[in-house]
């Protein structure tokens, strides 16, 4: 512990504490802009400067560790003047058309400008006017809003190791860009959207489809069905002022009905279905001696990452489509058959925690129904905006169930939204598929939680299944490098089954989630999903009665020819340079 003084208040903090954290402890708020609690501080903005006696210049509170006996002032005239001048300078090259900005009211720059007391912008001068990058189907990048805090690049390169974004140029003409400014759609970008979650301003956001969905809802000729991903229920509440990790499944169904969706289903249904298909695939692979491990395929950011950086592992990826796409196919094949509605009248909308799902829905492989299986993908943020526009507050909604026949779900489906959840759900059913007996304790704790790479060994009769789970693509890279070298050296890997999610925390940390999600929030949301799981009567996917009916009436058996045709897919190799599909030799 060290003693120091902040604004005349004596404090004692552990060695290594930054001035920022020490001041917060002493109840002094220091404004920050480029700082994000989950990223290494870069110190680019300079807004958090404070005075430390004995130093000629001000020091950045976010990256300066407090030392014994220091006398720090966080609110002198010199400090306040400096902060105001810096924010003034930042605003002098910022497209401050706030009323039309997607971040209006949620913008960290707005907050800081208010806190430091900007009344008018003294510095006036040349503004950069650059074209908005709309080359990516999932994401939009508006360089005119960018304040060069560097968070997006840090998350893209350090956490996700995708390196799609880079700094371009130098000095006043520095910009966040892609190679030769050719756009994110012509880069290695995997659409994970983490950049949009970390961006403090309106420079990076999802390519919105709310207008298209409103139009469909307003069209009497269309039958609009909606699915919501498992993770949505753990954080949509945050958009309406509820605590992170409040489960809102029932309220969500009610709200969607009140937005005039014709049928309100649940992606959880196809999550259970995915487990049956994928679980069967894994069990078969072990029995038939197919090269292991089998790696999950639910996360479209991960899939594009794999196609780009690890195409040699394509044969290891489960061919099962993601729950979103399985749902999409069924909504335009099975559902019309059951309901007697022409498939061409169906408009299929999904609500996802994910920006990459927008890309996935538009992949050419995803037309198994004869139509584009999923028409529109909305992120959590877009749905919240639509609800506000429709005059709905989630808090006021009653709890309602989803519709049949694509609405029932088990606890195993709910935990898909958290890292390790797909693995846990799969193990619960795989045990049954192999042994014919139920796993007694369904809580497989070693695969839960925020550790980057998790491993577990699960005894299944004579066989010990070795599994691994990675979330966040940087963590995935570590695991995949290990697997790749094992395969290259011995032709075998120590793992049987591997789960990979593109986003840190899994889907609860997805790129379509509420702005500014921290790792702590992601962890809390994940826990909430496990709480819902524990509260449900059925916690194993193979217990889902509607899924059983689906097989009986429509698909026949897991991995049947029909199931393969509709519910399975294949993967490509992609160029690291522009992300485009590389033709096979």
């Amino acid at each position: 512990m060290i003693k120091a003084t902040i604004n005349k208040v004596e404090i004692e903090v552990p060695e290594g504490t930054t001035i920022l954290d020490a001041a917060r402890k002493a109840n002094f708020a220091i404004p920050t802009l480029c700082r994000h609690p989950d990223l290494t501080p870069g110190g680019s903005c300079g807004v958090c400067v404070v005075e430390v006696e004995g130093f000629p210049a001000l020091r950045r509170a976010c990256m300066t560790q407090l030392e014994k006996g220091w006398v720090v002032s966080t609110n002198t005239a010199r400090v306040r003047n400096a902060r105001r001048e810096i924010v003034d300078l930042i605003l002098s090259d910022h497209d401050a058309d706030c009323l039309t900005c997607i971040k209006n009211g949620r913008c960290e720059l707005q907050d800081v400008a208010r806190v430091v007391g900007i009344k008018d912008v003294t510095n006036q001068g040349k503004n950069h006017k650059k074209a908005i990058d709309r080359s990516r189907v999932a994401l939009v990048r508006d360089p005119n809003k960018c304040i060069l805090c560097g968070r997006c690049i840090t998350v893209c390169s350090d956490i996700q190791t995708v390196n799609a974004l880079t700094l371009d140029g130098r000095g006043f003409d520095t910009s966040v860009s892609t190679v030769l400014n050719q756009g994110m759609g012509n880069s290695a970008c995997v659409n994970c959207g983490q950049c949009t979650v970390f961006c403090p301003v309106g420079a990076l956001y999802e390519n919105s489809q709310t207008d298209e969905v409103w139009k469909a809802l307003n069209d009497p000729d269309k039958h609009v069905v909606v699915q919501e991903a498992p993770a949505i229920r753990a954080q949509l509440g945050e958009e309406f002022g509820m605590e992170p990790g409040t489960i809102v499944s029932g309220k969500l169904h009610a709200a969607l009905r009140r937005m005039r969706f014709d049928a309100v289903f649940d992606t959880n249904f196809t999550a259970d279905l995915t487990i049956i298909e994928e679980g069967t695939e894994v069990v078969d692979a072990i029995k038939t001696g197919r090269s292991l491990p089998i790696i999950t395929s639910c996360s479209p950011g991960w899939i594009k990452f794999m196609e780009t950086f690890y195409p040699h592992l394509r044969g290891h990826i489960s061919t099962a489509k993601s729950p979103q796409q399985m749902f999409g196919v069924l909504a335009k094949t099975y559902y019309p058959e059951v309901k007697g509605i022409p498939a061409e009248k169906i408009v299929s909308v999904s609500v996802m925690p994910c920006t990459a799902k927008k890309f996935e829905a538009q992949r050419p492989e995803m037309w198994s129904s004869g139509f584009q299986d999923v028409d529109y993908v909305l992120t959590t943020r877009e749905l919240a905006r639509m609800m506000r526009e429709a005059g709905l507050d989630l808090k006021d909604m009653p709890d309602e169930p989803a519709d049949d026949p694509l609405g029932e779900y088990t606890g195993a489906a709910t935990i898909f939204g958290a890292t390790g959840g797909v693995m846990e759900a799969a193990l619960r059913s795989a045990y049954f598929l192999v042994t014919g007996r139920e796993l007694e304790n369904v809580n497989i704790l070693p695969v839960r939680g925020m550790t980057g790479v998790k491993e577990a060994e699960v005894p299944v009769d004579g066989l010990t299944l070795k599994v691994a789970v990675a979330h966040g693509l940087g963590n995935a890279r570590k695991l995949l490098d290990k697997i790749s070298s094992q395969l290259a050296e011995t032709g075998k890997s120590e793992y049987h089954f591997v789960e990979i999610m593109a986003c840190p925390g899994g889907c609860v940390g997805g790129g379509g989630q509420p702005w500014g999600s921290t790792m702590a929030q992601r962890a809390r949301r994940g826990e909430a999903l496990y709480e819902e799981d524990a509260s449900l009567p059925k916690r194993r996917s193979h217990e889902n009665a509607s899924v059983a009916v689906l097989y009986e009436k429509f698909l026949k058996t897991p991995n049947s020819e029909k199931a393969h045709h509709l519910l399975h897919t294949h993967y490509n190799a992609r160029s690291k340079v522009d992300g485009k599909v590389v033709k096979e030799d």
Binding site: P41, G46, E85, L89, N123, L148, F172
Partner: protein, 524 residues
Amino acid sequence: MNIARSHVLISIDAGTIMAGARGVQAELVEEIKKKGLSGEVAVLETGNLGVTGMGVVLVVYPEGFYYGNVTKEDIPEFVEEQLLKGRLVKRLLLTQAPKRFIIRREKMGLTKEQPRIVLKNCGFINPESIEEYIAAGGYEAASKALTAMTPEEVIGEVKRSALAGRGGAAFPTAAKWEFARKAPGEEKFIICNADEGEPGTFKDRLILEGDPHKLLEGMLIAGYAVGASKGFIYIRGEYALSIERTEKAIADARSYGLLGNTIFDKPFGFDIEVMKGAGAYVCGEETALIESLEGHRGHPRNKPPYPVVSGLWGKPTVVNNVETLANIAEIVRNGANWFKQYGTPKCAGTKVYTILGHVATPGLIETEMGTTLRDIIYDYGGGIGDGKQFKGALVGGAAGAFLGPDMLDVQMDFVNLKEYAAALGSGAILVMNQDTSMVDMLKSVLHFFKHESCGHCAPCRLGTARLVEIVDRIADSEAKADDVDRLLAIASVMKDTSFCPLGQSLYLPVSSCLKYFREEIAGS
């Protein structure tokens, strides 16, 4: 070596090569041969002769005549008149230049010879010959340090000499070495910062071109003292000849066993590599330089940790300026007491300056710490010239300070000019006469900063842009009422909040310019 009656020294450096020195040299050798003087007159290549901006420069010894702006066409006449007949070619004679060595001694009553520590060999030996360097006492100091002294004793000697870094911060060199020596870690590095980028500054270039072994010897001693086995010289990319000569010097030193796995039969190895910069002034900042050495964009790092603890690849690293390292061999060879007889009691040794602008004889000089600006301008620089008056001097390049007439008699050293220490370090003295527009000067300085800002931090990236816009308005007589105040306001916040010394240092030229010339700036 032949005993020649006459030596013609031809200065080969980047400036003179551009002016055609190679062609002149070839013509000279040819003409001497033609006139049958080959046995009597030797043509020697040297580095900079202390004169710049005078085209190709020749010096004829033993007479010590300086010739400037010599072209190929002049050579037949030069050889015929000067070498054959012993008559001066007056139209080519540099009447002012020789004074920089002669006058000073006369003025001092010949009691004390003007010291040349750093530039001792520049212009006197062939920089491409390790033999000549050794003949002039080179590598004696390294031998002494490695064979007769412990690393601690070497650091102790440098500490007693009170040598302070010549790059700008004036940090005690020995203290830096000691920190790095004591920092935990097996692998340590010595980096020589030769990314000289201040406009008007080229002292480091001329040291590299004129006496590269001096630097290598200094680095070798530093490596021994610190416990480093690897050194890097980060040379500004534009300095092609410096790079070429330094690389040759390294190769020669290796072949003489002065670099390599064992040196002087001691269990100590040291090697040096040259890294070519790629055009970024900010890389002169030590942490940005380290980033660049690691292959990244030259963005500065946060300090602490300081490089002496965690530098290149996170290892303890000493970053020293060329001029600092060029002092080391002489200090070790002659001892700290010898070194301290030069300069002022608080600031020992000499300082190398490039003196430019409105002076009669621009060039490179080395003078004791504490020499006044007046002596530098009027003795070494030959005065303002053209009968004009002194208006001011920009000392230290773009990041330097404007000094007005009241500063002419201040003794120039790091202690006296504490607030201008960085400026002094670069050693550029740009002299301005009465006709100079200070708005233009300030404009040039601010444009330079905007161009060189790395863009990492908001205060510098945006501050430099707005400052340029303001000074352009002033220059175009379109200034707003508060523009002059805004110059100072932005510069002062940049001083307080910029991430690295680049943005912080801009306050110095802006504030000093306004201190002396506010009326002129505001009135335009």
